[in-house]
């Protein structure tokens, strides 16, 4: 079960069309509870993949592992061809050290369900923090980039406000700008609308729609907004108890689900909405 032996996995992915994100036989468990069971999932560059499924199906864990917020028990994750969870030493894959993790993390940005803005910094300071202190950008440059992004998410006027003065939807838009300011190659959206009042969900989903339309970002999203997922995703993955039960284009999955569990889940969701 605990496949810590990773000798069978390649040191890096090579070839023409390497996926931006690649999970290879990834396993995650807490004690006896298996959260992800030998997951294989590739996400191509520029692709928008949405993960849906009942709670406890492991969908959030997929994003958290990519952000290195969770360790994995088996398998290897590759980002941009390079191993994320491991690194090469003497021609073998070994567990990544903190330096390797920091290098790889710079390719990934994440937005959280509860925003996690820094409460003692203004919207602008939240966005500038990473560019200045991680990327080593000049304050002037970072400010320009941050202001541009805040304008893009429609928060230019509130840039000097602290998070406590902003609504949930506004906070989430700032959080998106903050993540984008790091110029990640992969963006992760972890239930970004779940903590929002219904009337402000649209302002956040519109920002993500715009991102999909105008930028060639690779994105992974976990959401309960089925209509939204259907509109913007290239592919939908339905997770059930730690594995991908079914996946396909939105039309395939929502229009003609093949597996019984998918049908049950989708009709239950439809009932509720």
């Amino acid at each position: 079960m605990n496949t810590t032996d990773v000798s069978a996995f390649p040191l890096r992915l090579e070839g023409d069309a390497i996926p931006m994100v690649s999970f290879k036989k990834v396993t995650k468990s807490y004690g006896n509870l298996v959260v992800l069971d030998s997951l294989d999932l590739d996400v191509a560059e520029g692709e928008m993949v949405t993960v849906i499924g009942p709670s406890g199906s492991g969908k959030t864990t997929v994003l958290r592992m990519l952000m290195t917020l969770e360790t994995i028990n088996g398998g290897v994750i590759y980002v941009d061809g390079e191993p994320l969870t491991h690194m090469e030493r003497d021609g073998k894959l070994v567990r990544a050290d903190s330096r390797h993790l920091r290098k790889m993390r710079s390719k990934i940005g994440m937005c959280f369900q509860h925003f996690n803005l820094f409460p003692h910094m203004t919207a602008l300071e939240n966005c500038m923090e990473g560019p200045v202190h991680v990327l080593g950008m000049s304050k002037k440059e970072a400010r320009e980039r941050s202001e541009e992004l805040l304008a893009m998410v429609g928060m230019a006027e509130k840039r000097d406000q602290h998070p406590s003065r902003l609504s949930g939807g506004q906070q989430q838009r700032v959080a998106i700008a903050r993540a984008l300011a790091m110029r990640p190659k992969v963006m992760l959206f972890d239930e970004v609308t779940s903590a929002l009042d219904p009337e402000v969900i649209g302002e956040v989903t519109n920002v993500i729609r715009q991102l999909v339309a105008e930028h060639n970002l690779t994105m992974l999203m976990v959401t309960h907004q089925m209509g939204f997922a259907k509109d913007i995703s290239d592919r939908i993955c339905f997770f059930y108890s730690g594995r991908i039960e079914e996946q396909g284009t939105p039309d395939e999955l929502f229009g003609n689900p093949q597996k019984e569990r998918t049908q049950q889940f989708l009709s239950a969701v439809k009932e509720a909405s």
Partner: protein, 222 residues
């Protein structure tokens, strides 16, 4: 009131006020040591190195569970036994500083634990370094919830300085005792000491509450 002598009161008041200066100095110095050392204790308990974590945890527990007055005696008298002679002030500051460092480390610990996990995760997702995460993200948020406790212990250390009189630090209590044994009058000096303590600790406690609100607003957490 009874046998209260105003002429005697005014005669000893200047001496007591000078001694109050020493009391405030002792409290201030001791607190400065405790604030810094307490943070060291608190952060040491968060390192991944288990033996250090456990050793510091036990030391903090030990210091918190034993009387300060005994610790003062211990620091002052044990040194000379091994050839290290400490002045009453030095010994007093070490003892009271260590004692309150143990208390403050618990306050900091609570403050650090009150910062939501999501803040750590956001810092990680932005790839902030550990030092940057602590100083720019975590500590500013751990500070406001710690302020009430820190304030309580500032008043606490001030009220505990009379214990330094036992090894001859010439603070307020020591001076009142000296006046008592010179003149055989205890009513005025001891009562005045009580009044002086009340006059300093009550407004200080109120000021600390104001300061707490100010810091919260300053950090935009109000």
């Amino acid at each position: 009131m009874f046998d209260w002598r105003w002429d005697f009161t005014f005669e000893i008041l200047p001496r007591l006020i000078v001694a109050t200066g020493n009391t405030l100095l002792a409290a201030g110095l001791g607190y400065a040591i405790a604030v810094v050392l307490g943070l060291v204790f608190a952060l040491a308990q968060r390192t991944p190195f288990r033996p250090l974590t456990i050793a510091v945890r036990e030391a903090v527990e030990f210091i918190r569970s034993t009387p300060l007055v005994l610790q003062i005696f211990f620091v002052f008298y044990v040194g000379p036994q091994f050839g290290i002679r400490l002045s009453p002030w030095t010994a007093g500051m070490i003892a009271i500083g260590l004692h309150y460092a143990a208390y403050l480390s618990e306050v900091y610990r609570g403050g650090l634990e009150s910062v939501p996990k999501g803040q750590w995760e956001a810092a990680k997702s932005l790839n902030l370094s550990t030092a940057r995460t602590y100083f720019r993200v975590i500590l500013p948020q751990a500070l406001p919830p710690s302020l009430a406790g820190m304030g309580n212990y500032l008043v606490g250390i001030f009220k505990d300085t009379p214990m330094l009189s036992v090894i001859g630090v010439a603070e307020l209590m020591h001076t009142a005792n000296a006046i008592g044994s010179e003149t055989y009058r205890f009513l005025e000096p001891f009562t005045l000491v009580g009044i002086i303590f009340l006059c300093i600790s009550l407004p200080t406690a109120a000021l600390i509450r104001l300061f707490e609100g100010w810091v919260r607003r300053k950090l935009g957490l109000g």
